[in-house]
Symmetry: C2
Subunit: 275 residues, 2 copies
């Protein structure tokens, strides 16, 4: 097993592969899996050294399945990357902007390029299971007049041609990915911590938890909650905050938090991705 | 338009209809719609007086699409109900427990009845788009040896027979529904408030917001966050808390909160559903 294998969800050429390349360079070996549980499993079973899990998108919100998988597995966040989602129109010989009649992609990607379709009313949107998968299908079937919307990496992987860049309506479309490993390793420039905790359902419990950060001027960057199974109306909270677990201030905040929570887990300490 | 029309998502006989009946009695007129946006639209356009939106499930978590729709529309929460999800095996003449070979239902319902399928290894699970929809289909096609998993209301609506009750693995499976109307009406026994707010992304901003409740010993029952579109890495927060907007304590907390938030909206004040 090469050290640089990283499991991703989706076909080769997906936005996950683009994010993996951004994080680990163009020579990284990506291992495509069909589902999110399968990428966590791949690391847990030592098939891959890492996996890359999308955790939130600035338009669609958190990817809750991966929040749940963070608690189900015992993996550690070692890095993150914020990928700007740029949609490209990719085609194969036989298709040009002039004879374009059909565009295949994942329904979310098609919806995010509504202005392009307004400008080209004769072009039919055809929903497909995956962005990169639609490029792969066209690479095999070479349908004249058909193109796909996907990451520029999909054009590289399947040897397609980019007919047009930046089809997306909103430029403010980012997906945040977490790189996960079996063992924790904290880089010297780590400046962000992710934790998960649960509290007894007492009045003011969450406020007390947040106070351990506010008292120390520690900046929270994200908060999420998910249900505790079998304990209706109780929740796990996920917090990201600025800091390094090796700093005194951060250690004291976590010690203090442990006093007021039932369960507390540090999911990782890593360098914040560029925004 | 009768005053008691309530738009629900899904086919007649769905868990939404069961919840509507629980809330408004057996004579309520339910208006089935295919999507969640359509039930909000139906109230906004005065086709229905109410709609009933599932907002969270104790196993699967929040129904985020409906959180977003609460902010997109200007409807008011007037009541809530917590429905225990009981899965029933429903069949038509020609099918008995003895000749049972196929069970149709929504994939989530099939997954929630895994013990039943372990006890009946010869029975095939067949995914269908909707729980009540699978009963409706069997009522029309009467496939021998086939049954469906759905709410007991589906058996009533489509005149099916309940072969077995309580197929669900987890008894702690509840869905919380919100009843929404165009105008707010606060019952005299209202004891719960739902709000949404956003803050500038300053350190300690969320802590300051929660402090307005903690200072006054007001109990928070749920907190959720969703992204603000076009402002990457900023969030709307949704809070439920115990209280009545007519009480001084609650009014002061909301006044105080308005000072430390950019946007603040009261989504409703209503009687908490039985847990």
């Amino acid at each position: 097993m090469p050290q640089t294998t990283i499991a991703i969800q989706g076909e080769r050429g997906s936005f996950s592969e683009e994010a993996a390349t951004r994080l680990m360079g163009p020579n990284v070996r990506v291992l495509p899996k069909e589902t999110f549980p399968a990428i966590f499993q791949s690391v847990a079973e030592r098939e891959s050294r890492y996996c890359l899990a999308p955790i939130e998108n600035t338009l669609a919100g958190s990817i809750y399945e991966n929040y749940d998988l963070l608690l189900e597995h015992d993996l550690h966040i070692v890095a993150e990357v914020n990928l700007r989602i740029v949609h490209n129109l990719i085609a194969f010989p036989g298709t040009t902007m002039e004879n374009l009649r059909q565009v295949y992609s994942h329904p979310v990607a098609l919806a995010q390029c509504s202005r392009f379709f307004k400008r080209h009313p004769k072009v039919e949107k055809i929903p497909f299971y995956d962005t990169a998968g639609s490029v792969k299908m066209l690479a095999e079937r070479k349908i004249p007049g058909a193109a796909a919307i996907a990451s520029h990496i999909a054009a590289l992987v399947y040897d397609g041609k980019i007919l047009q860049k930046h089809l997306e309506d909103h430029q403010e479309n980012y997906t945040r990915f977490l790189q996960l490993a079996r063992t924790s390793s904290i880089p010297s420039d780590a400046n962000k911590v992710s934790i998960a905790f649960s509290t007894r359902n007492a009045p003011g419990a969450l406020f007390r938890c947040l106070s351990v950060f506010a008292l120390r001027d520690i900046d929270l960057t994200k908060m999420e909650s998910r249900p505790v199974r079998g304990r209706p109306w109780e929740y796990f909270f996920y917090l990201d905050f600025a800091g390094n677990v090796r700093d005194k201030k951060c250690q004291k905040a976590l010690d203090h938090l442990a006093e007021v929570t039932d369960i507390l887990r540090v999911l990782g300490c890593y360098k914040a991705g560029k925004k």
